[in-house]
C-alpha cells in the first residue's frame, strides 16, 4: 500500500510518501501563488525521491489551507485532524499539540490520536510564523537566525503590540532607543509564545505536548514556549510534515 499525503499550507507545501504506514520520504517546497501547481510539483518530487511511479500510488490524501484546490487528491481532511493523526503516529502518548504555521497557530487536545478539543488563533497574524517573518525584517535578521539570536539575550525587551505591523514599528523604535538586537529578538519571540501559551492553557494542554509546524524549527520559540508552559515539548525531527503524514493515515483505525 503506497499513499501520498500532501499538506498544502499558506507558505509551504509538504508531501510525504508512506508505504504500509511507514514513512519513506518527504519533500517541502514553497507554495508561491498557485496551490495546485505547488501540490503537483511536490507530488512529482516526492515520487521521484522515492523512485516510485505514479501508477504505483494507491491513494493521495490532501490537507492544509489549499486542500480543496488539489483536484487529484482522493480525499481531503482538515489539518487539525491530520496533525493529530501524524503526531500520534510518532508519539502515541501525546495529549496535546501546538502547531505554529505560516498564517495560523493552533492548539489541539488529543486522546489516543483523536481530537477532543482545539483552538485556533483569531484571524490575524499575532502568534503565527508571519509575525516572526515580518518583525525579523525590522531587525535585519534572516528568519532562520532569529531563534538562535534570541537565545543569547539576557534581558528580553518587552513587545506588547499584538498587531504585526505595530509590533514591527515597536521593534524599530526599540532599535532607535539603543536596545540590543538579541533582546528585541527575544522580545518578539516571547510575544508569540505568550500568545500561543494562552491558547494552550485554554485548551488544557499540560503534559506530553508536541510542537509542530514550520515555527517548531525555531529553537528560540521552543525554549520560550517551554518556559512559558513549564513543560518540555516533543519536536519531531521534521516538524513540518506531521500534517501530510497524518493525512495518509485517514483510514487507519484508531484503537
Amino acid at each position: 500500500m503506497i499513499s501520498v499525503g500532501i499538506d498544502s499550507g499558506s507558505a509551504t507545501t509538504k508531501a510525504v510518501l508512506v508505504k504500509d504506514c511507514r514513512l519513506i520520504t518527504h519533500i517541502i517546497l514553497p507554495t508561491a501563488f498557485d496551490f495546485l501547481l505547488a501540490a503537483e510539483k511536490t507530488y512529482k518530487s516526492v515520487l521521484s525521491n522515492a523512485g516510485i511511479a505514479e501508477t504505483d500510488v494507491n491513494s493521495v490524501y490532501a490537507t492544509g489551507y489549499g486542500r480543496n484546490s488539489i483536484k487529484f487528491a482522493d480525499r481531503t481532511i482538515s489539518e487539525i485532524t491530520a496533525h493529530a493523526m501524524g503526531v500520534y503516529h510518532l508519539y502515541p502518548d501525546v495529549n496535546g499539540i501546538i502547531d505554529i504555521g505560516g498564517q495560523d497557530s493552533k492548539v489541539i487536545s488529543v486522546n489516543g490520536g483523536k481530537v477532543t478539543d482545539f483552538l485556533m488563533n483569531d484571524k490575524c497574524a499575532a502568534g503565527t510564523g508571519k509575525f516572526l517573518e515580518y518583525t525579523a525584517r525590522a531587525l535585519e535578521v534572516p528568519i532562520e537566525e532569529l531563534g538562535s539570536l534570541a537565545l543569547v539575550s539576557k534581558e528580553p525587551a518587552s513587545i506588547t503590540s499584538m498587531c504585526t505591523v505595530f509590533a514591527e514599528s515597536e521593534a524599530i523604535s526599540l532599535r532607535a532607543r539603543g536596545f540590543k538586537k538579541e533582546d528585541i529578538a527575544a522580545g518578539l519571540i516571547e510575544s508569540v509564545s505568550r500568545r500561543v501559551a494562552v491558547m494552550a492553557r485554554q485548551a488544557g494542554l499540560k503534559q506530553n505536548v508536541a510542537f509542530v509546524g514550520g515555527v517548531a524549527k525555531n529553537a528560540g520559540i521552543k525554549a520560550a514556549l517551554e518556559k512559558e508552559l513549564g513543560v518540555s515539548l516533543y519536536v519531531p525531527p521534521e516538524p513540518q510534515i506531521t500534517g501530510a503524514l497524518g493525512a495518509t493515515l485517514i483510514n487507519y483505525k484508531l484503537k
Partner: protein
Amino acid sequence: MQQFDSLNYFTNSYNLRIFQIAEERKAGKKIVGTFCLFVPDEIIFAAGADRVILCGGKNDTVSIAEQYLPRNICPLVKSSFGSIVNNGCSGVKSCSHFGMIDMIVAENTCDSKKKMYELLGDYVPTYVIDLPQRPDSPEALNYFLGELDKFKGSMEKLTGNKITFEQLKKEIESLNETRKLLHRLYELRKMDPTPITGVDVLKVLQKQYFLSADEFKKSLHMLIGEVKQVKAEGDHKTRIMVSGCPMAGGNTKVPEIIENKGGVIVAEESCTGTRSFWDLVDEDKDPMLALAERYIKIPCSCMSPNNRRIDNILELAREFKVDGVVYYTLQFCHGYNIEKYMVQQALKNEGIPMLAIETDYSDSDVEQIGLRVDAFMEMLS
C-alpha cells in the same frame, strides 16, 4: 434535504410586506421599528400599530455607520445604524423598511445599543424601554411592569388609540399561537435525520418580526404541514445546536458553512431561535403582569446573573440530542463573548463538545471558519 414550497413565501415576502406597510401608512396606521425581543409586540398590536424589525444583518451599511460610531462595536449595531442614517451618498442602498417607520421602540440591553439609540433619536423619534438587569430580584419585576405601563401610554399617544384589556388579551392569545406553532416546528426537528435544514429555519425566524403576525402564522402553518410529511429516512447527520448572538436578516454565513460541511442544525439558542418563542405568556393572569413576567425572563446576556441561559442550553442540548454545539458570537459582543466561558464549562461537564466562532458580517473569514467547522465535524464523527 427536501425543498419546501411554503418556504418561498418567507424568502420572497419582502416586496409584499413593503407594499403592505406602505398601504397601512396611507390608511393612517403607525409603524414602529424594533430591535429586540424585549419589546412586547402585544402592546404594539393592541394599540393598532404594526411593527417591523430594524436589526441589520448586511455588511454593506457597516461602513456608513463607521462615519459615526467606533469601529470596534458589534456589526449588528453598525449595520442597523448604517441602514437608518444612510442618505444614499455612498452609493449603498438600505432596505426600504428602514425608512418607513414612525417611531423606534428601543430597549436598554447592551451598551452599544443603548448608545446607538441616543444617536438615533436625531433621525427618528426613539422611545426607550428601560430594562432591569438583575431579573430575579423582587424589585425588578415591579420596575419592568412600570416601564411597560409607560410604554403602553406612549403607544396610545402615538396611535391615538386606547389599549384595552380585551385587546391585550386577544394579542397575547394570538402571539401565543405563533409561539406554539414554532414549538411544533421545533418538535419536528427532533427527528433523526431532521426533516428541515437549519438555514431554512433561520430564514423563517428572521421573518418573525418582519412579517405581520397573521402572515407569519399563516406561512408557518403551511410549512409545518409540509415538514410533517417528511419521513425520517437515511443516515444520521451530525446534529448541531447553534448558541449565542442573533443572526439578523441577511446573515446566514455560519449556518451555511456548518450545513455545507455535512452538519445539520437542529436547534438555535438565539434571539433568532428559541429565545424568541420558548416561553408563553400566561393567559390567566392580568395581561400587563403576565407580559412583564414573560419578557423579563428572556435569557439575554445583558442579564446578570444569567444562569437561566446555561440551564436552557443544557436542556435544549439534551432534548434535541445534539452531537455538538457551535457557540456563535459577533465580534465585540461582550455579553455573549464573555458568557462563552461559562457555557463551555457547563457543556464540558455534560460531555458535549463545543466549537466557538467569533465573526462579523464580512466574508473575509469564510475559509478560516470552514476549516474549524471541518475539523469539528471530523471530531464529532
